[in-house]
């Protein structure tokens, strides 16, 4: 029978939220984190601000981390990795390795919250010379610059006069196999465009897109203010290539609503890279024997196809971006649901 413990793998926003909720529901929680600290990708990638009211990312994620880790029923194991799992729902025995050695944790349910990684635009050489041109960066790189209030051209350390975002880099792409929309990049690019204009009011900022996917409130919280109040230029038509021109960048594409070729000089080009399952997600899926979809995300849905936190293995649940491209709302919603399912499993084990 259950020992009353939920084991959660990954201490990013999904894992932290799941830990907090499971603990509040009365379970003991063991939170396993590979890094030496909690916070996940927002922390690791130096996110500046969240799309939610432009909240400071450190502060908001810090509050979440504090709420989870300070709970008396939550035990955090950093520098630790899950290496094996045996048993079944209600009675898992999870092998954990860390610097000090190996140990086994007994848990009634497991939540996988191992998240995503940013698409690497160097993976395919045609991706805009990311590894050749220092002034071609990604939205992940931009977060760090915004956080430091140092938005500059890496080539010369000078603030850019003209900044272009290119959407859908590594997403919606049959060539590279990432056919899905990464869901957050339109909003993140618009958020960053606003921040660039705030930090460099005289700069010109452009966003080149296939179609802007500003679902829900992002439409009027990010997209409209970016255009209407911060004068960000949205141009329909993806940039095809970037050429070096003197010491600047010539972006070439088609301006599709004008039906005309476009060749415009930029100082800094930001690739709106999408999401991919993290290495940790792929590894943990292997170790736990979880089905993955064709993109490497943990297959969610369960037998009904509509359960966003069910995995192929009863008693093991998935939260956040380990299952699909997710924004923080998706992450929190699935984390809370996974916690509830996990606690329910402790109380009434599902024998599949």
């Amino acid at each position: 029978m259950s020992e009353g413990t939920v084991l959660i793998i990954g201490a990013g926003p999904a894992g932290l939220e799941a830990a907090r909720t499971a603990a509040q529901l009365g379970a003991n929680v063991v939170l396993v984190e590979k890094r030496d600290r909690v916070g996940g990708t927002p922390d690791e990638s130096n996110y500046a601000k969240l799309t939610h009211h432009f909240r400071d990312a450190d502060e908001a994620i810090g509050e979440l981390a504090e709420a989870a880790t300070s709970h008396p029923h939550v035990q955090v194991l950093t520098n630790s990795q899950v290496v094996s799992v045996a048993g079944e729902a209600g009675d898992f025995r999870v092998g954990i390795q860390n610097g000090a050695g190996a140990k086994t944790v007994h848990a009634g349910a497991i939540i996988v919250a191992t998240g995503f990684q940013h698409f690497d635009p160097g993976r395919e050489t045609q991706y805009y010379n990311y590894y050749s041109f220092s002034d071609v960066i990604t939205i992940a790189d931009m977060e760090g610059m915004l956080k430091a209030h140092q938005v500059v051209r890496p080539s010369n350390g000078q603030p850019p006069e003209r900044v272009a975002f290119i959407q859908c880099v590594g997403s919606r792409d049959r060539q590279i196999g990432n056919e899905y929309c990464s869901k957050v990049c339109c909003g993140i690019a618009s958020k960053q465009a606003i921040e660039v204009k705030q930090q460099l009011p005289n700069s010109r900022v452009f966003i080149f897109y296939i179609d802007m996917r500003m679902y829900g409130y992002w439409e009027n919280e990010l997209y409209w203010p970016a255009q209407e109040q911060h004068h960000v230029n949205y141009v329909k038509g993806l940039v095809s290539e970037i050429l070096a021109k003197d010491d600047r960048l010539l972006i070439r594409g088609e301006d599709t609503t004008m039906g005309r070729p476009m060749e415009v000089v930029m100082d800094l080009v930001v690739l709106s890279v999408g999401m991919e399952p993290s290495q940790g997600t792929r590894q943990v899926a292997e170790i736990l024997g979880l089905e993955q979809n064709k993109y490497g995300y943990i297959q969610a849905g369960g037998p009904t196809h509509i359960d966003p936190v069910a995995t192929s293995r009863p008693g093991i649940f998935v939260a956040g971006a380990a299952a699909r491209p997710s924004d923080l709302d998706d992450t929190f919603a699935t984390a809370g649901l996974a916690a509830a399912r996990a606690v329910a499993t402790l109380r009434q084990p599902v024998m599949a």
Binding site: R204, H231, T257, P261, M262
Partner: protein, 430 residues
């Protein structure tokens, strides 16, 4: 500008080229312009959007819903979303002919998801252009006439009530009677233009037949100035508004009835919002529709014709009145009302609004045909014998268009004229 392009390095062959009103599109007479976009010019969007009232110009996200409903695009290559992109790709709208093509018909705002309001953007941008001295000559003439004579036709102010001499019924002047239940604001075209006067005489007969206690302002009345405002002359509008309001307040009356929808908009909305003039006002179609019980028995003579009705932009879309004109037409015995495809909310525009009345020679250089001609062709296509109107700008515009398109058989009549004909049984050609 997409299909049928020859690829020539650096330039773009225009698929549609209209010069002096003649469509010269075709490989035998090529028009070229720069093909590649070398830079974007957001500062030219800001140049417009920073003008008070024109803020929404910068809000366009290019969904393009506005273009198919833009009456100018039907006869050319135009539309609000195109203006945005033009500004973003190097065109200074404050110094470009495209600034003068919009008739402020309001059909784009009706469908715009982001409420980009050309009805506010145009007067703001044009006011700036006028201040900079960039204004088409014929429009400038209309401005000067209005300033000098109180009407855009350049007719003598003292002769504003001269038309009443032709009336076979009394048309009292406020200066003489001091008090009347109804103040009838006649308007410039109904006072001076021969076809406008026809409608005024009809109105006078109808008011008398209904025993309406009415009076006009005569030579004290000046143009409402709203179309001049929309064409960029805010100062002139304010001058006229101050004059007219002073005259309105001089006399004792209960209800103002206006002949024209532009005057209706001027007094009901603009004079109210800008000067606090807040009195009961009706367009004549509303006034008469309210008295239909009394009017209907007088409509004794059949008008056995197919009649279609052109919704005036400033009565329909701007003020939501679609039913009163139709109620009057349907009260006429024998008359068959046929609706055109573009009617009511999506009614087409005659081209006269927003200063278009005084830009015909200018506009024709940028369109394949006049808006009025396009509308007349639609009326004919729907089998109408009569194109009925209720805006004084329209009678002359549509009559000219009927002639120029070879459709002389189409009669253009104000609803006032049709009612008068049915009352008296005279003037029926058919």
């Amino acid at each position: 500008m997409d299909a049928g392009l020859d690829k020539v390095e650096g330039i773009l062959e225009k698929e549609v080229a209209i010069v002096d009103g003649i469509d010269i599109s075709g490989p035998w007479n090529r028009m070229f312009e720069q093909r590649v976009i070398w830079d974007y010019t957001p500062e030219l969007i800001e140049k417009v959007a920073s003008l008070p009232g024109a803020e929404s110009f910068a809000w366009c996200y290019q969904c393009a819903k506005c273009v198919p409903v833009c009456p100018v695009d039907q006869v050319g290559d135009y539309g609000p979303r195109k203006l945005y992109r033009m500004a973003q790709t190097g065109v200074d709208l404050l110094n470009h002919d495209a600034l003068w093509l919009c008739t402020t018909c309001r059909n784009c705002v009706r469908v715009c998801k982001k409420v980009v309001d050309m009805v506010k953007i145009m007067p703001a941008a044009r006011e700036q252009a006028v201040l900079n001295g960039f204004v088409p000559e014929e429009l400038q003439t209309a401005f000067e006439n209005t300033a000098k004579y109180g009407n855009p036709l350049g007719q003598s102010q003292r002769k504003r009530a001269a038309w009443t001499k032709k009336s076979d019924v009394p048309v009292p002047i406020m200066k003489d009677v001091k008090r009347a239940e109804v103040l009838w604001y006649v308007g410039s075209y109904p006072s001076y233009h021969p076809r406008g006067i026809d409608a005024s005489l009809a109105a006078a007969r109808i008011f008398n037949a209904l025993n309406v206690d009415f009076a006009i302002l005569g030579r004290e009345e000046k143009d409402d100035g709203d179309s001049q405002r929309l064409a960029g002359e805010l100062g002139l509008f304010e001058m006229l508004a101050e004059h007219n309001i002073k005259v309105f307040e001089k006399y004792d009356w209960d209800l103002m009835v206006v002949t024209g929808p532009h005057e209706y908009n001027a007094f009901k909305k603009e004079y109210k919002e800008r000067f606090g003039f807040d009195r009961p006002i009706q367009h004549y179609t509303q006034f008469l529709a309210d008295r239909l019980d009394q009017l209907k028995p007088m409509l004794k003579h059949e008008i056995p014709l197919k009649v279609t009705f052109h919704d005036p932009c400033y009565l329909g879309r701007h003020h939501g009145e679609y039913d009163a004109p139709r109620a009057l037409l349907q009260a006429i015995p024998g008359l068959e009302l046929v609706e055109m495809g573009r009617c009511r909310e999506n009614g087409y525009c005659c081209g006269g609004g927003g200063g278009g009345m005084w830009l015909d020679s200018f506009t024709i250089n940028h369109t394949t045909m006049r808006l009025s001609e396009r509308r007349v062709l639609e009326a004919v296509a729907y089998g109408a014998d009569v194109l009925a109107v209720s805006c004084p700008f329209e009678v002359s515009r549509f009559e000219d268009a009927a002639k120029s398109t070879g459709n002389d058989q189409l009669k253009v009549l104000d609803i006032l004229e049709l009612l008068d004909m049915s009352m008296r049984g005279v003037g029926l050609a058919a």
